[in-house]
């Protein structure tokens, strides 16, 4: 076969070989095998070594992935198999050579943990399937077969008959859907959406009571970041102002609730709800104070100014100057939680409810803003400020409005955050918070609610869930981010524009009879 075909496959095999070697060096292979064994119901004690079978399974899966990804989409089946064969053999040879070294370590009894803290002899033995000198051959065979298997799978799943099968399933499903649509009675059409929301609401009611306080904490954190993400999205995504000091508004809300509703340093004890309202107002006031002088700025300059603003607020909160007023670096403790109808409403379950309700409300408000005159004006300003202005949009007021509304969401989230933690200090409002929120938008997808939720989950929820694999948490997380940004640069769930013309046409068709009017979104 020609060189063009061999060389990319060779390179791929080599790359994945090196990836696997790194996995072994940091003991990630044993980690994955352990997780696989957990998946199959084995009871694993921390630090124990899983069954060899799971290591084999992991390596087979890895090999299959290599085979799958090496076989190019448009090649003939035989070519695909050949590519996979080359990659698999390369992978096997690379790891076989590596095995020889590892085996030598075992034979001579050298303990490399001095240099590679994670590489225990047990782990090496597991990787070598405990077979000593013949393990290179075993690996060579395993990876070749697995790679071919992966390629075969691709050939089968992507073949024409398979795609015809999937198409058939899809059209059948669509037919069913159309039939169901035609047969649904009128009241379902009218109230179906409402009922669905009710059902989801009921479903959301029970889990917080069941799944324990840790999950409540994680869900609450994700929810708060969704609210923050929506707020920042109004500023960055809709009106196109790059804001890097968003945590300042968050701090405004948090500190308002803290100062007005904690015994120290002022002991005002205004109650949670009024102080939350004041927190939102304070955030808006801060937005106006920041917004007025910087309205003329755009892009990088605005980013730098807002970044400075965020830092100023944080340093002020921390400074000696204001220690008597804000509690200084020690922050404010014992923030009282909310009450509802005279009852305390501050257990972790209650906070989850509050956050979920506020989150849904925020999404609702965002949706309505987006599809209004104001929302469109923001988008126009983002796309082309000068043309938007020449089309009759007042740039100043619209930009300032976006800043204020975004800040209001941040103030809201900040207030709840402070009360939930019963504590807030300058460290809660660092630059990293602003960066995290911006990352949520970029990772999830700007201007897309599902994207923001997914982004918040990926960036704030996933690290918490991944806590189980402790040492590898950041590694896995970073790897996920890199892979994701390469494969989905527009975010996990990119935004789409509404199909107004089509929708309007459909509505005219449906509402042949007069009666229903207006726009329902």
């Amino acid at each position: 076969m020609n060189k063009k075909l061999v060389s990319p496959s060779l390179k791929r095999g080599l790359t994945f070989g090196i990836v696997m070697i790194i996995f072994v060096l940091i003991d990630l292979d044993v980690m994955v095998a352990t997780m696989l064994s957990k998946l199959f119901g084995a009871n694993v004690i921390r630090g124990s070594i899983p069954d060899v079978g799971f290591m084999v399974l992991f390596l087979i899966l890895f090999g299959m992935f290599v085979g799958w990804s090496t076989s190019s989409d448009d090649a003939k089946p035989t070519t695909k198999l050949f590519q996979a064969l080359v990659a698999g053999l390369t992978l096997g040879v690379v790891l076989g050579l590596f095995d020889l070294i590892l085996n030598q370590l075992i034979v001579t009894g050298t303990d490399v943990r001095k240099y590679l803290a994670a590489l225990a002899p047990e782990s090496i033995r597991l990787f070598l399937f405990d077979q000593g000198a013949i393990s290179p051959l075993l690996h060579l065979g395993l990876f070749t077969v697995a790679s071919l298997l992966g390629s075969l799978m691709k050939i089968l799943l992507k073949s024409e008959s398979a795609s015809r099968f999937f198409k058939g399933v899809k059209s059948g499903y669509q037919g069913l859907q159309a039939k169901a649509q035609a047969n649904t009675p009128n009241w379902v059409k009218k109230y179906g959406k409402f009922l669905l929301f009710l059902l989801i609401g009921l479903l959301a009611f029970f889990p917080p009571r069941i799944w324990g306080s840790y999950n409540n904490y994680v869900v609450g954190l994700v929810g708060l970041y969704v609210i923050l993400g929506i707020g920042l999205n109004i500023i960055v995504g809709l009106s196109g102002q790059l804001m890097l000091g968003f945590a300042a508004f968050f701090a405004m809300g948090a500190y308002s609730v803290a100062l007005l509703n904690a015994p120290l340093p002022h002991g005002i004890m205004l109650g949670f709800w009024p102080s939350l309202l004041i927190g939102i107002l304070m955030a808006v006031v801060a937005a106006v104070l920041l917004g007025l002088p910087v309205m003329g700025m755009r892009g990088d300059y605005l980013a730098i100014v807002t970044l400075g603003f965020g830092e100023i607020i944080r340093i002020l909160l921390k400074s000696d100057l204001l220690t008597s007023f804000t509690g200084g670096p020690r922050g404010i403790q014992d923030i009282r939680g909310p009450t509802l109808f005279g009852q305390s409403f501050s257990s972790d379950i209650d906070y989850t409810y509050i956050i979920l309700v506020v989150m849904v409300l925020s999404i609702f408000i965002y949706k309505r803003l987006e599809r209004s005159r104001t929302g469109r004006a923001w988008l126009a300003v983002k796309e082309d400020t000068k043309v938007a202005q020449a089309t009759g949009v007042n740039i100043m007021t619209n930009k300032l409005l976006a800043l204020c509304l975004g800040a209001a969401f941040a103030g809201l989230a900040g207030g709840i955050f402070a009360a939930r933690n019963q504590f807030t200090g300058p460290n809660d409002h660092q630059l990293m918070v602003s960066m995290n929120i911006l990352s949520i938008l970029i990772v999830g997808g700007v201007n897309s609610i599902p994207g923001i939720i997914l982004g918040a989950f990926t960036l704030k929820g996933l690290p918490e869930i991944l806590r189980e694999i402790e040492n590898y948490r950041l590694l896995v997380f970073g790897g996920l981010l890199v892979v994701m940004m390469i494969s989905r640069p527009e975010g996990l769930w990119p935004a789409t524009r509404p199909n107004i013309e089509k929708d309007e046409g459909n509505k005219l068709k449906e509402n042949g009879a007069p009666g229903e009017g207006g726009l329902n979104d």
Binding site: R368, L379, A380, E383, A390, T391, E501, K502, L519
Partner: protein
């Protein structure tokens, strides 16, 4: 002759040492199609920018229905009823065609953000009304069926039309078109010319046009001004401009007038012999 809708009086715009527009006077009566022509760099677009508020002219006055508008910001100029298109198409690229027109309608809508959140009756009525109006305009400029395309994905000719549609949404009294047929083939140009005429005849909009295609200019203009190096060198109807030696020299260089006279005679004699 009706009252002038816009008067440009003695306007100069200076960039550093360069006088881009030099003491230009223009007066456009209502419901006229007025063309501004001139070689590249003559200051035509700069004059447009002075009228639409992008530039603040150093000297002179721009009067809209007798009121000075120079120095007003562009959104206020738009609110008064002056819309424009751009030489290099400037649409809101990542929004759909309908949304582009909806943004053009911005001036005519009244509801604020709070009404949008609580969905008042007024908001719903206005919103559905504006969608209907946008679709009507979409149809009017010939983009029916393209409404849900992103503006950047539309073919070139349709982008030009969409830009005009967005300008029309503003319900302008005066429309400034900056090279509306640039980059179009002959059929498209003929269509566009017809369309511009329709705008005037059906909607009663006064139109100022910058154009390089002489067929278009001579075909539809009620009056034409010629700019060269920022100065107005001629004004008149099509026939007068064609006969003006200064105009010909501005385009063809010195001696051009005599040359063109020669070719014209040749063509006439050819026509006679045919």
């Amino acid at each position: 002759m009706t009252d002038p809708i816009i008067q440009v009086k003695n306007v100069s715009k200076i960039f550093g040492g360069l006088t881009a527009v030099n003491q230009v006077d223009i007066e456009v009566p209502e419901k006229h199609i007025y063309s501004i022509i001139g070689p590249n760099g003559a200051g035509k677009t700069t004059l447009f920018n002075c009228i639409s508020g992008f530039y603040f002219p150093e000297k002179g006055e721009v009067l809209f229905y007798g009121d000075p508008i120079q120095g007003l910001s562009t959104n206020l100029v738009a609110w008064l009823g002056i819309s424009r298109t751009y030489q290099n198409i400037r649409l809101f690229n990542n929004l759909t065609a309908v949304e582009n027109i909806l943004i053009g309608l911005h001036r005519n809508l009244k509801t604020n953000w709070f009404e949008a959140i609580i969905h008042t009756k007024r908001f719903q009525k206005e919103e559905s009304g504006s969608v209907k109006e946008a679709l009507r305009l979409l149809d009017y400029v010939g983009l029916k069926g393209y409404g849900d395309f992103l503006a950047k994905n539309l073919p070139y000719g349709l982008q030009r039309r969409l830009e005009i549609g967005r300008a029309l949404a503003n319900q302008p009294k005066l429309l400034l078109l900056d090279e509306p047929t640039a980059g179009m083939n002959m059929n498209e140009t003929a269509e566009a010319t017809h369309f511009i005429k329709r705008l005037r005849d059906e909607l009663g909009i006064t139109i100022i046009l910058i154009e390089h295609d002489m067929k278009v200019v001579m075909g539809i203009s009620d009056r034409i001004s010629v700019l060269d190096y920022g100065t107005k060198i001629a004004e008149g109807n099509a026939a007068e401009i064609q006969a003006n030696p200064r105009v010909i020299e501005a385009y063809l260089g010195p001696g051009g007038a005599a040359l063109s006279e020669k070719y014209k005679k040749q063509r006439l004699s050819n026509a006679k012999s045919n």
